[in-house]
């Protein structure tokens, strides 16, 4: 098992530093929101997690497309790793969104288009894993997964638009309309927000690299096992 490459070690530390600074910025540096109070601070990481989840799924769809075109196994590896990380980030997005909603609108769940779309996105990518598990042949598995990740990635924004459109016609008083504009005043908040996005992008990249290494190790183990099996027979 090859040791961690130097760049990865540096990336690890860089990401940890970013998270530390991000925590400081969101908890202390960012101004306290006038109406929502402290819980609004959760918003920075909540949106960043959502952003990272969407980025992960974009990468997965692109990798899937690349696999279909080039048929190189590494693209399938990238797609699978990316979806796994995307599922984690989207989960964080949904739950933190729920926690944010609770004190503000007095409900754990708001049928806000963003939250609903995030949940649907999560379900699509959980289905992705069920699809992978159901196919034994590695080439077919990669092909099917690629097709589904492309379809899923294109479908989710369309769902969001549909739900959004529905709400614009029948405005339901459930949410402070646009989550982004609610409480984003002043340059300080924007700085913290951009920094959070950056931090989570780095977390995504670091996770991806590690997950890919894990996958490579797993595949090498499989090859070793098969070699031993054929040896014995």
């Amino acid at each position: 098992m090859e040791p961690m490459p130097k760049q990865l070690k540096i990336l690890n530390w860089l990401t940890i530093a970013l998270v530390a600074v991000g925590l400081y910025l969101t908890i202390w540096y960012a101004p306290r929101e006038a109406i929502m109070g402290d819980v609004q601070r959760v918003f920075y990481f909540h949106v960043s997690a959502g952003w990272a989840g969407a980025l992960a799924f974009l990468v997965a769809a692109l990798s899937g497309a690349l696999f279909l075109i080039r048929r190189e196994r590494r693209w399938d590896r990238v797609a699978m790793a990316s979806v796994e990380i995307g599922v984690v980030f989207t989960f964080i997005n949904i739950v933190s969104g729920s926690i944010w909603a609770r004190p503000i609108w007095n409900t754990w769940w708001t049928w806000d288009p963003r939250l609903v779309t995030a949940t649907i996105m999560e379900l699509v990518y959980l289905a992705y894993f069920m699809l992978r598990q159901g196919v034994d042949d590695p080439d077919r598995r990669a092909r099917f997964a690629a097709v589904y990740s492309i379809l899923g990635f294109l479908s989710v924004p369309l769902t969001f638009l549909s739900i959004r459109f529905f709400r614009s016609i029948h405005p339901v008083f459930f949410g402070a309309g646009d989550a982004l504009s609610a409480g984003m005043e002043g340059p300080r908040m924007w700085v913290v927000f951009i920094f959070s996005l950056l931090t989570f992008s780095f977390i995504y990249g670091t996770f991806l690299w590690h997950r890919l290494r894990l996958q490579e190790l797993s595949e090498r183990l499989e090859i070793l096992k098969m070699k031993l099996l054929s040896h014995e027979s």
């Binding site: 098992m1 109406i35 109070g37 190790l217 031993l228």
Partner: protein, 59 residues
């Protein structure tokens, strides 16, 4: 909207929010670490079997 002009005390929810976010990140890192450890151990087992095989090719 609040009739009172002071922001509501949502500190506890903020803590909960951060706990969940960071908790999930840490849990995922732990899952990666555990899987790495499991795979490395299996690798060692199989590698030692392979070594035994090459030492005693005749059975």
């Amino acid at each position: 909207m609040n009739p009172i002009d002071a922001p509501i005390d949502t500190f506890n929810y903020m803590v909960l929010g951060y706990a969940v976010i960071l908790g999930c990140v840490v849990l995922y890192i732990a899952s990666l670490a555990l899987r790495f450890r499991h795979l490395r151990r299996e690798f060692e087992v199989y590698e030692s079997i392979a070594r035994d095989e090459t030492d005693e090719p005749n059975r």
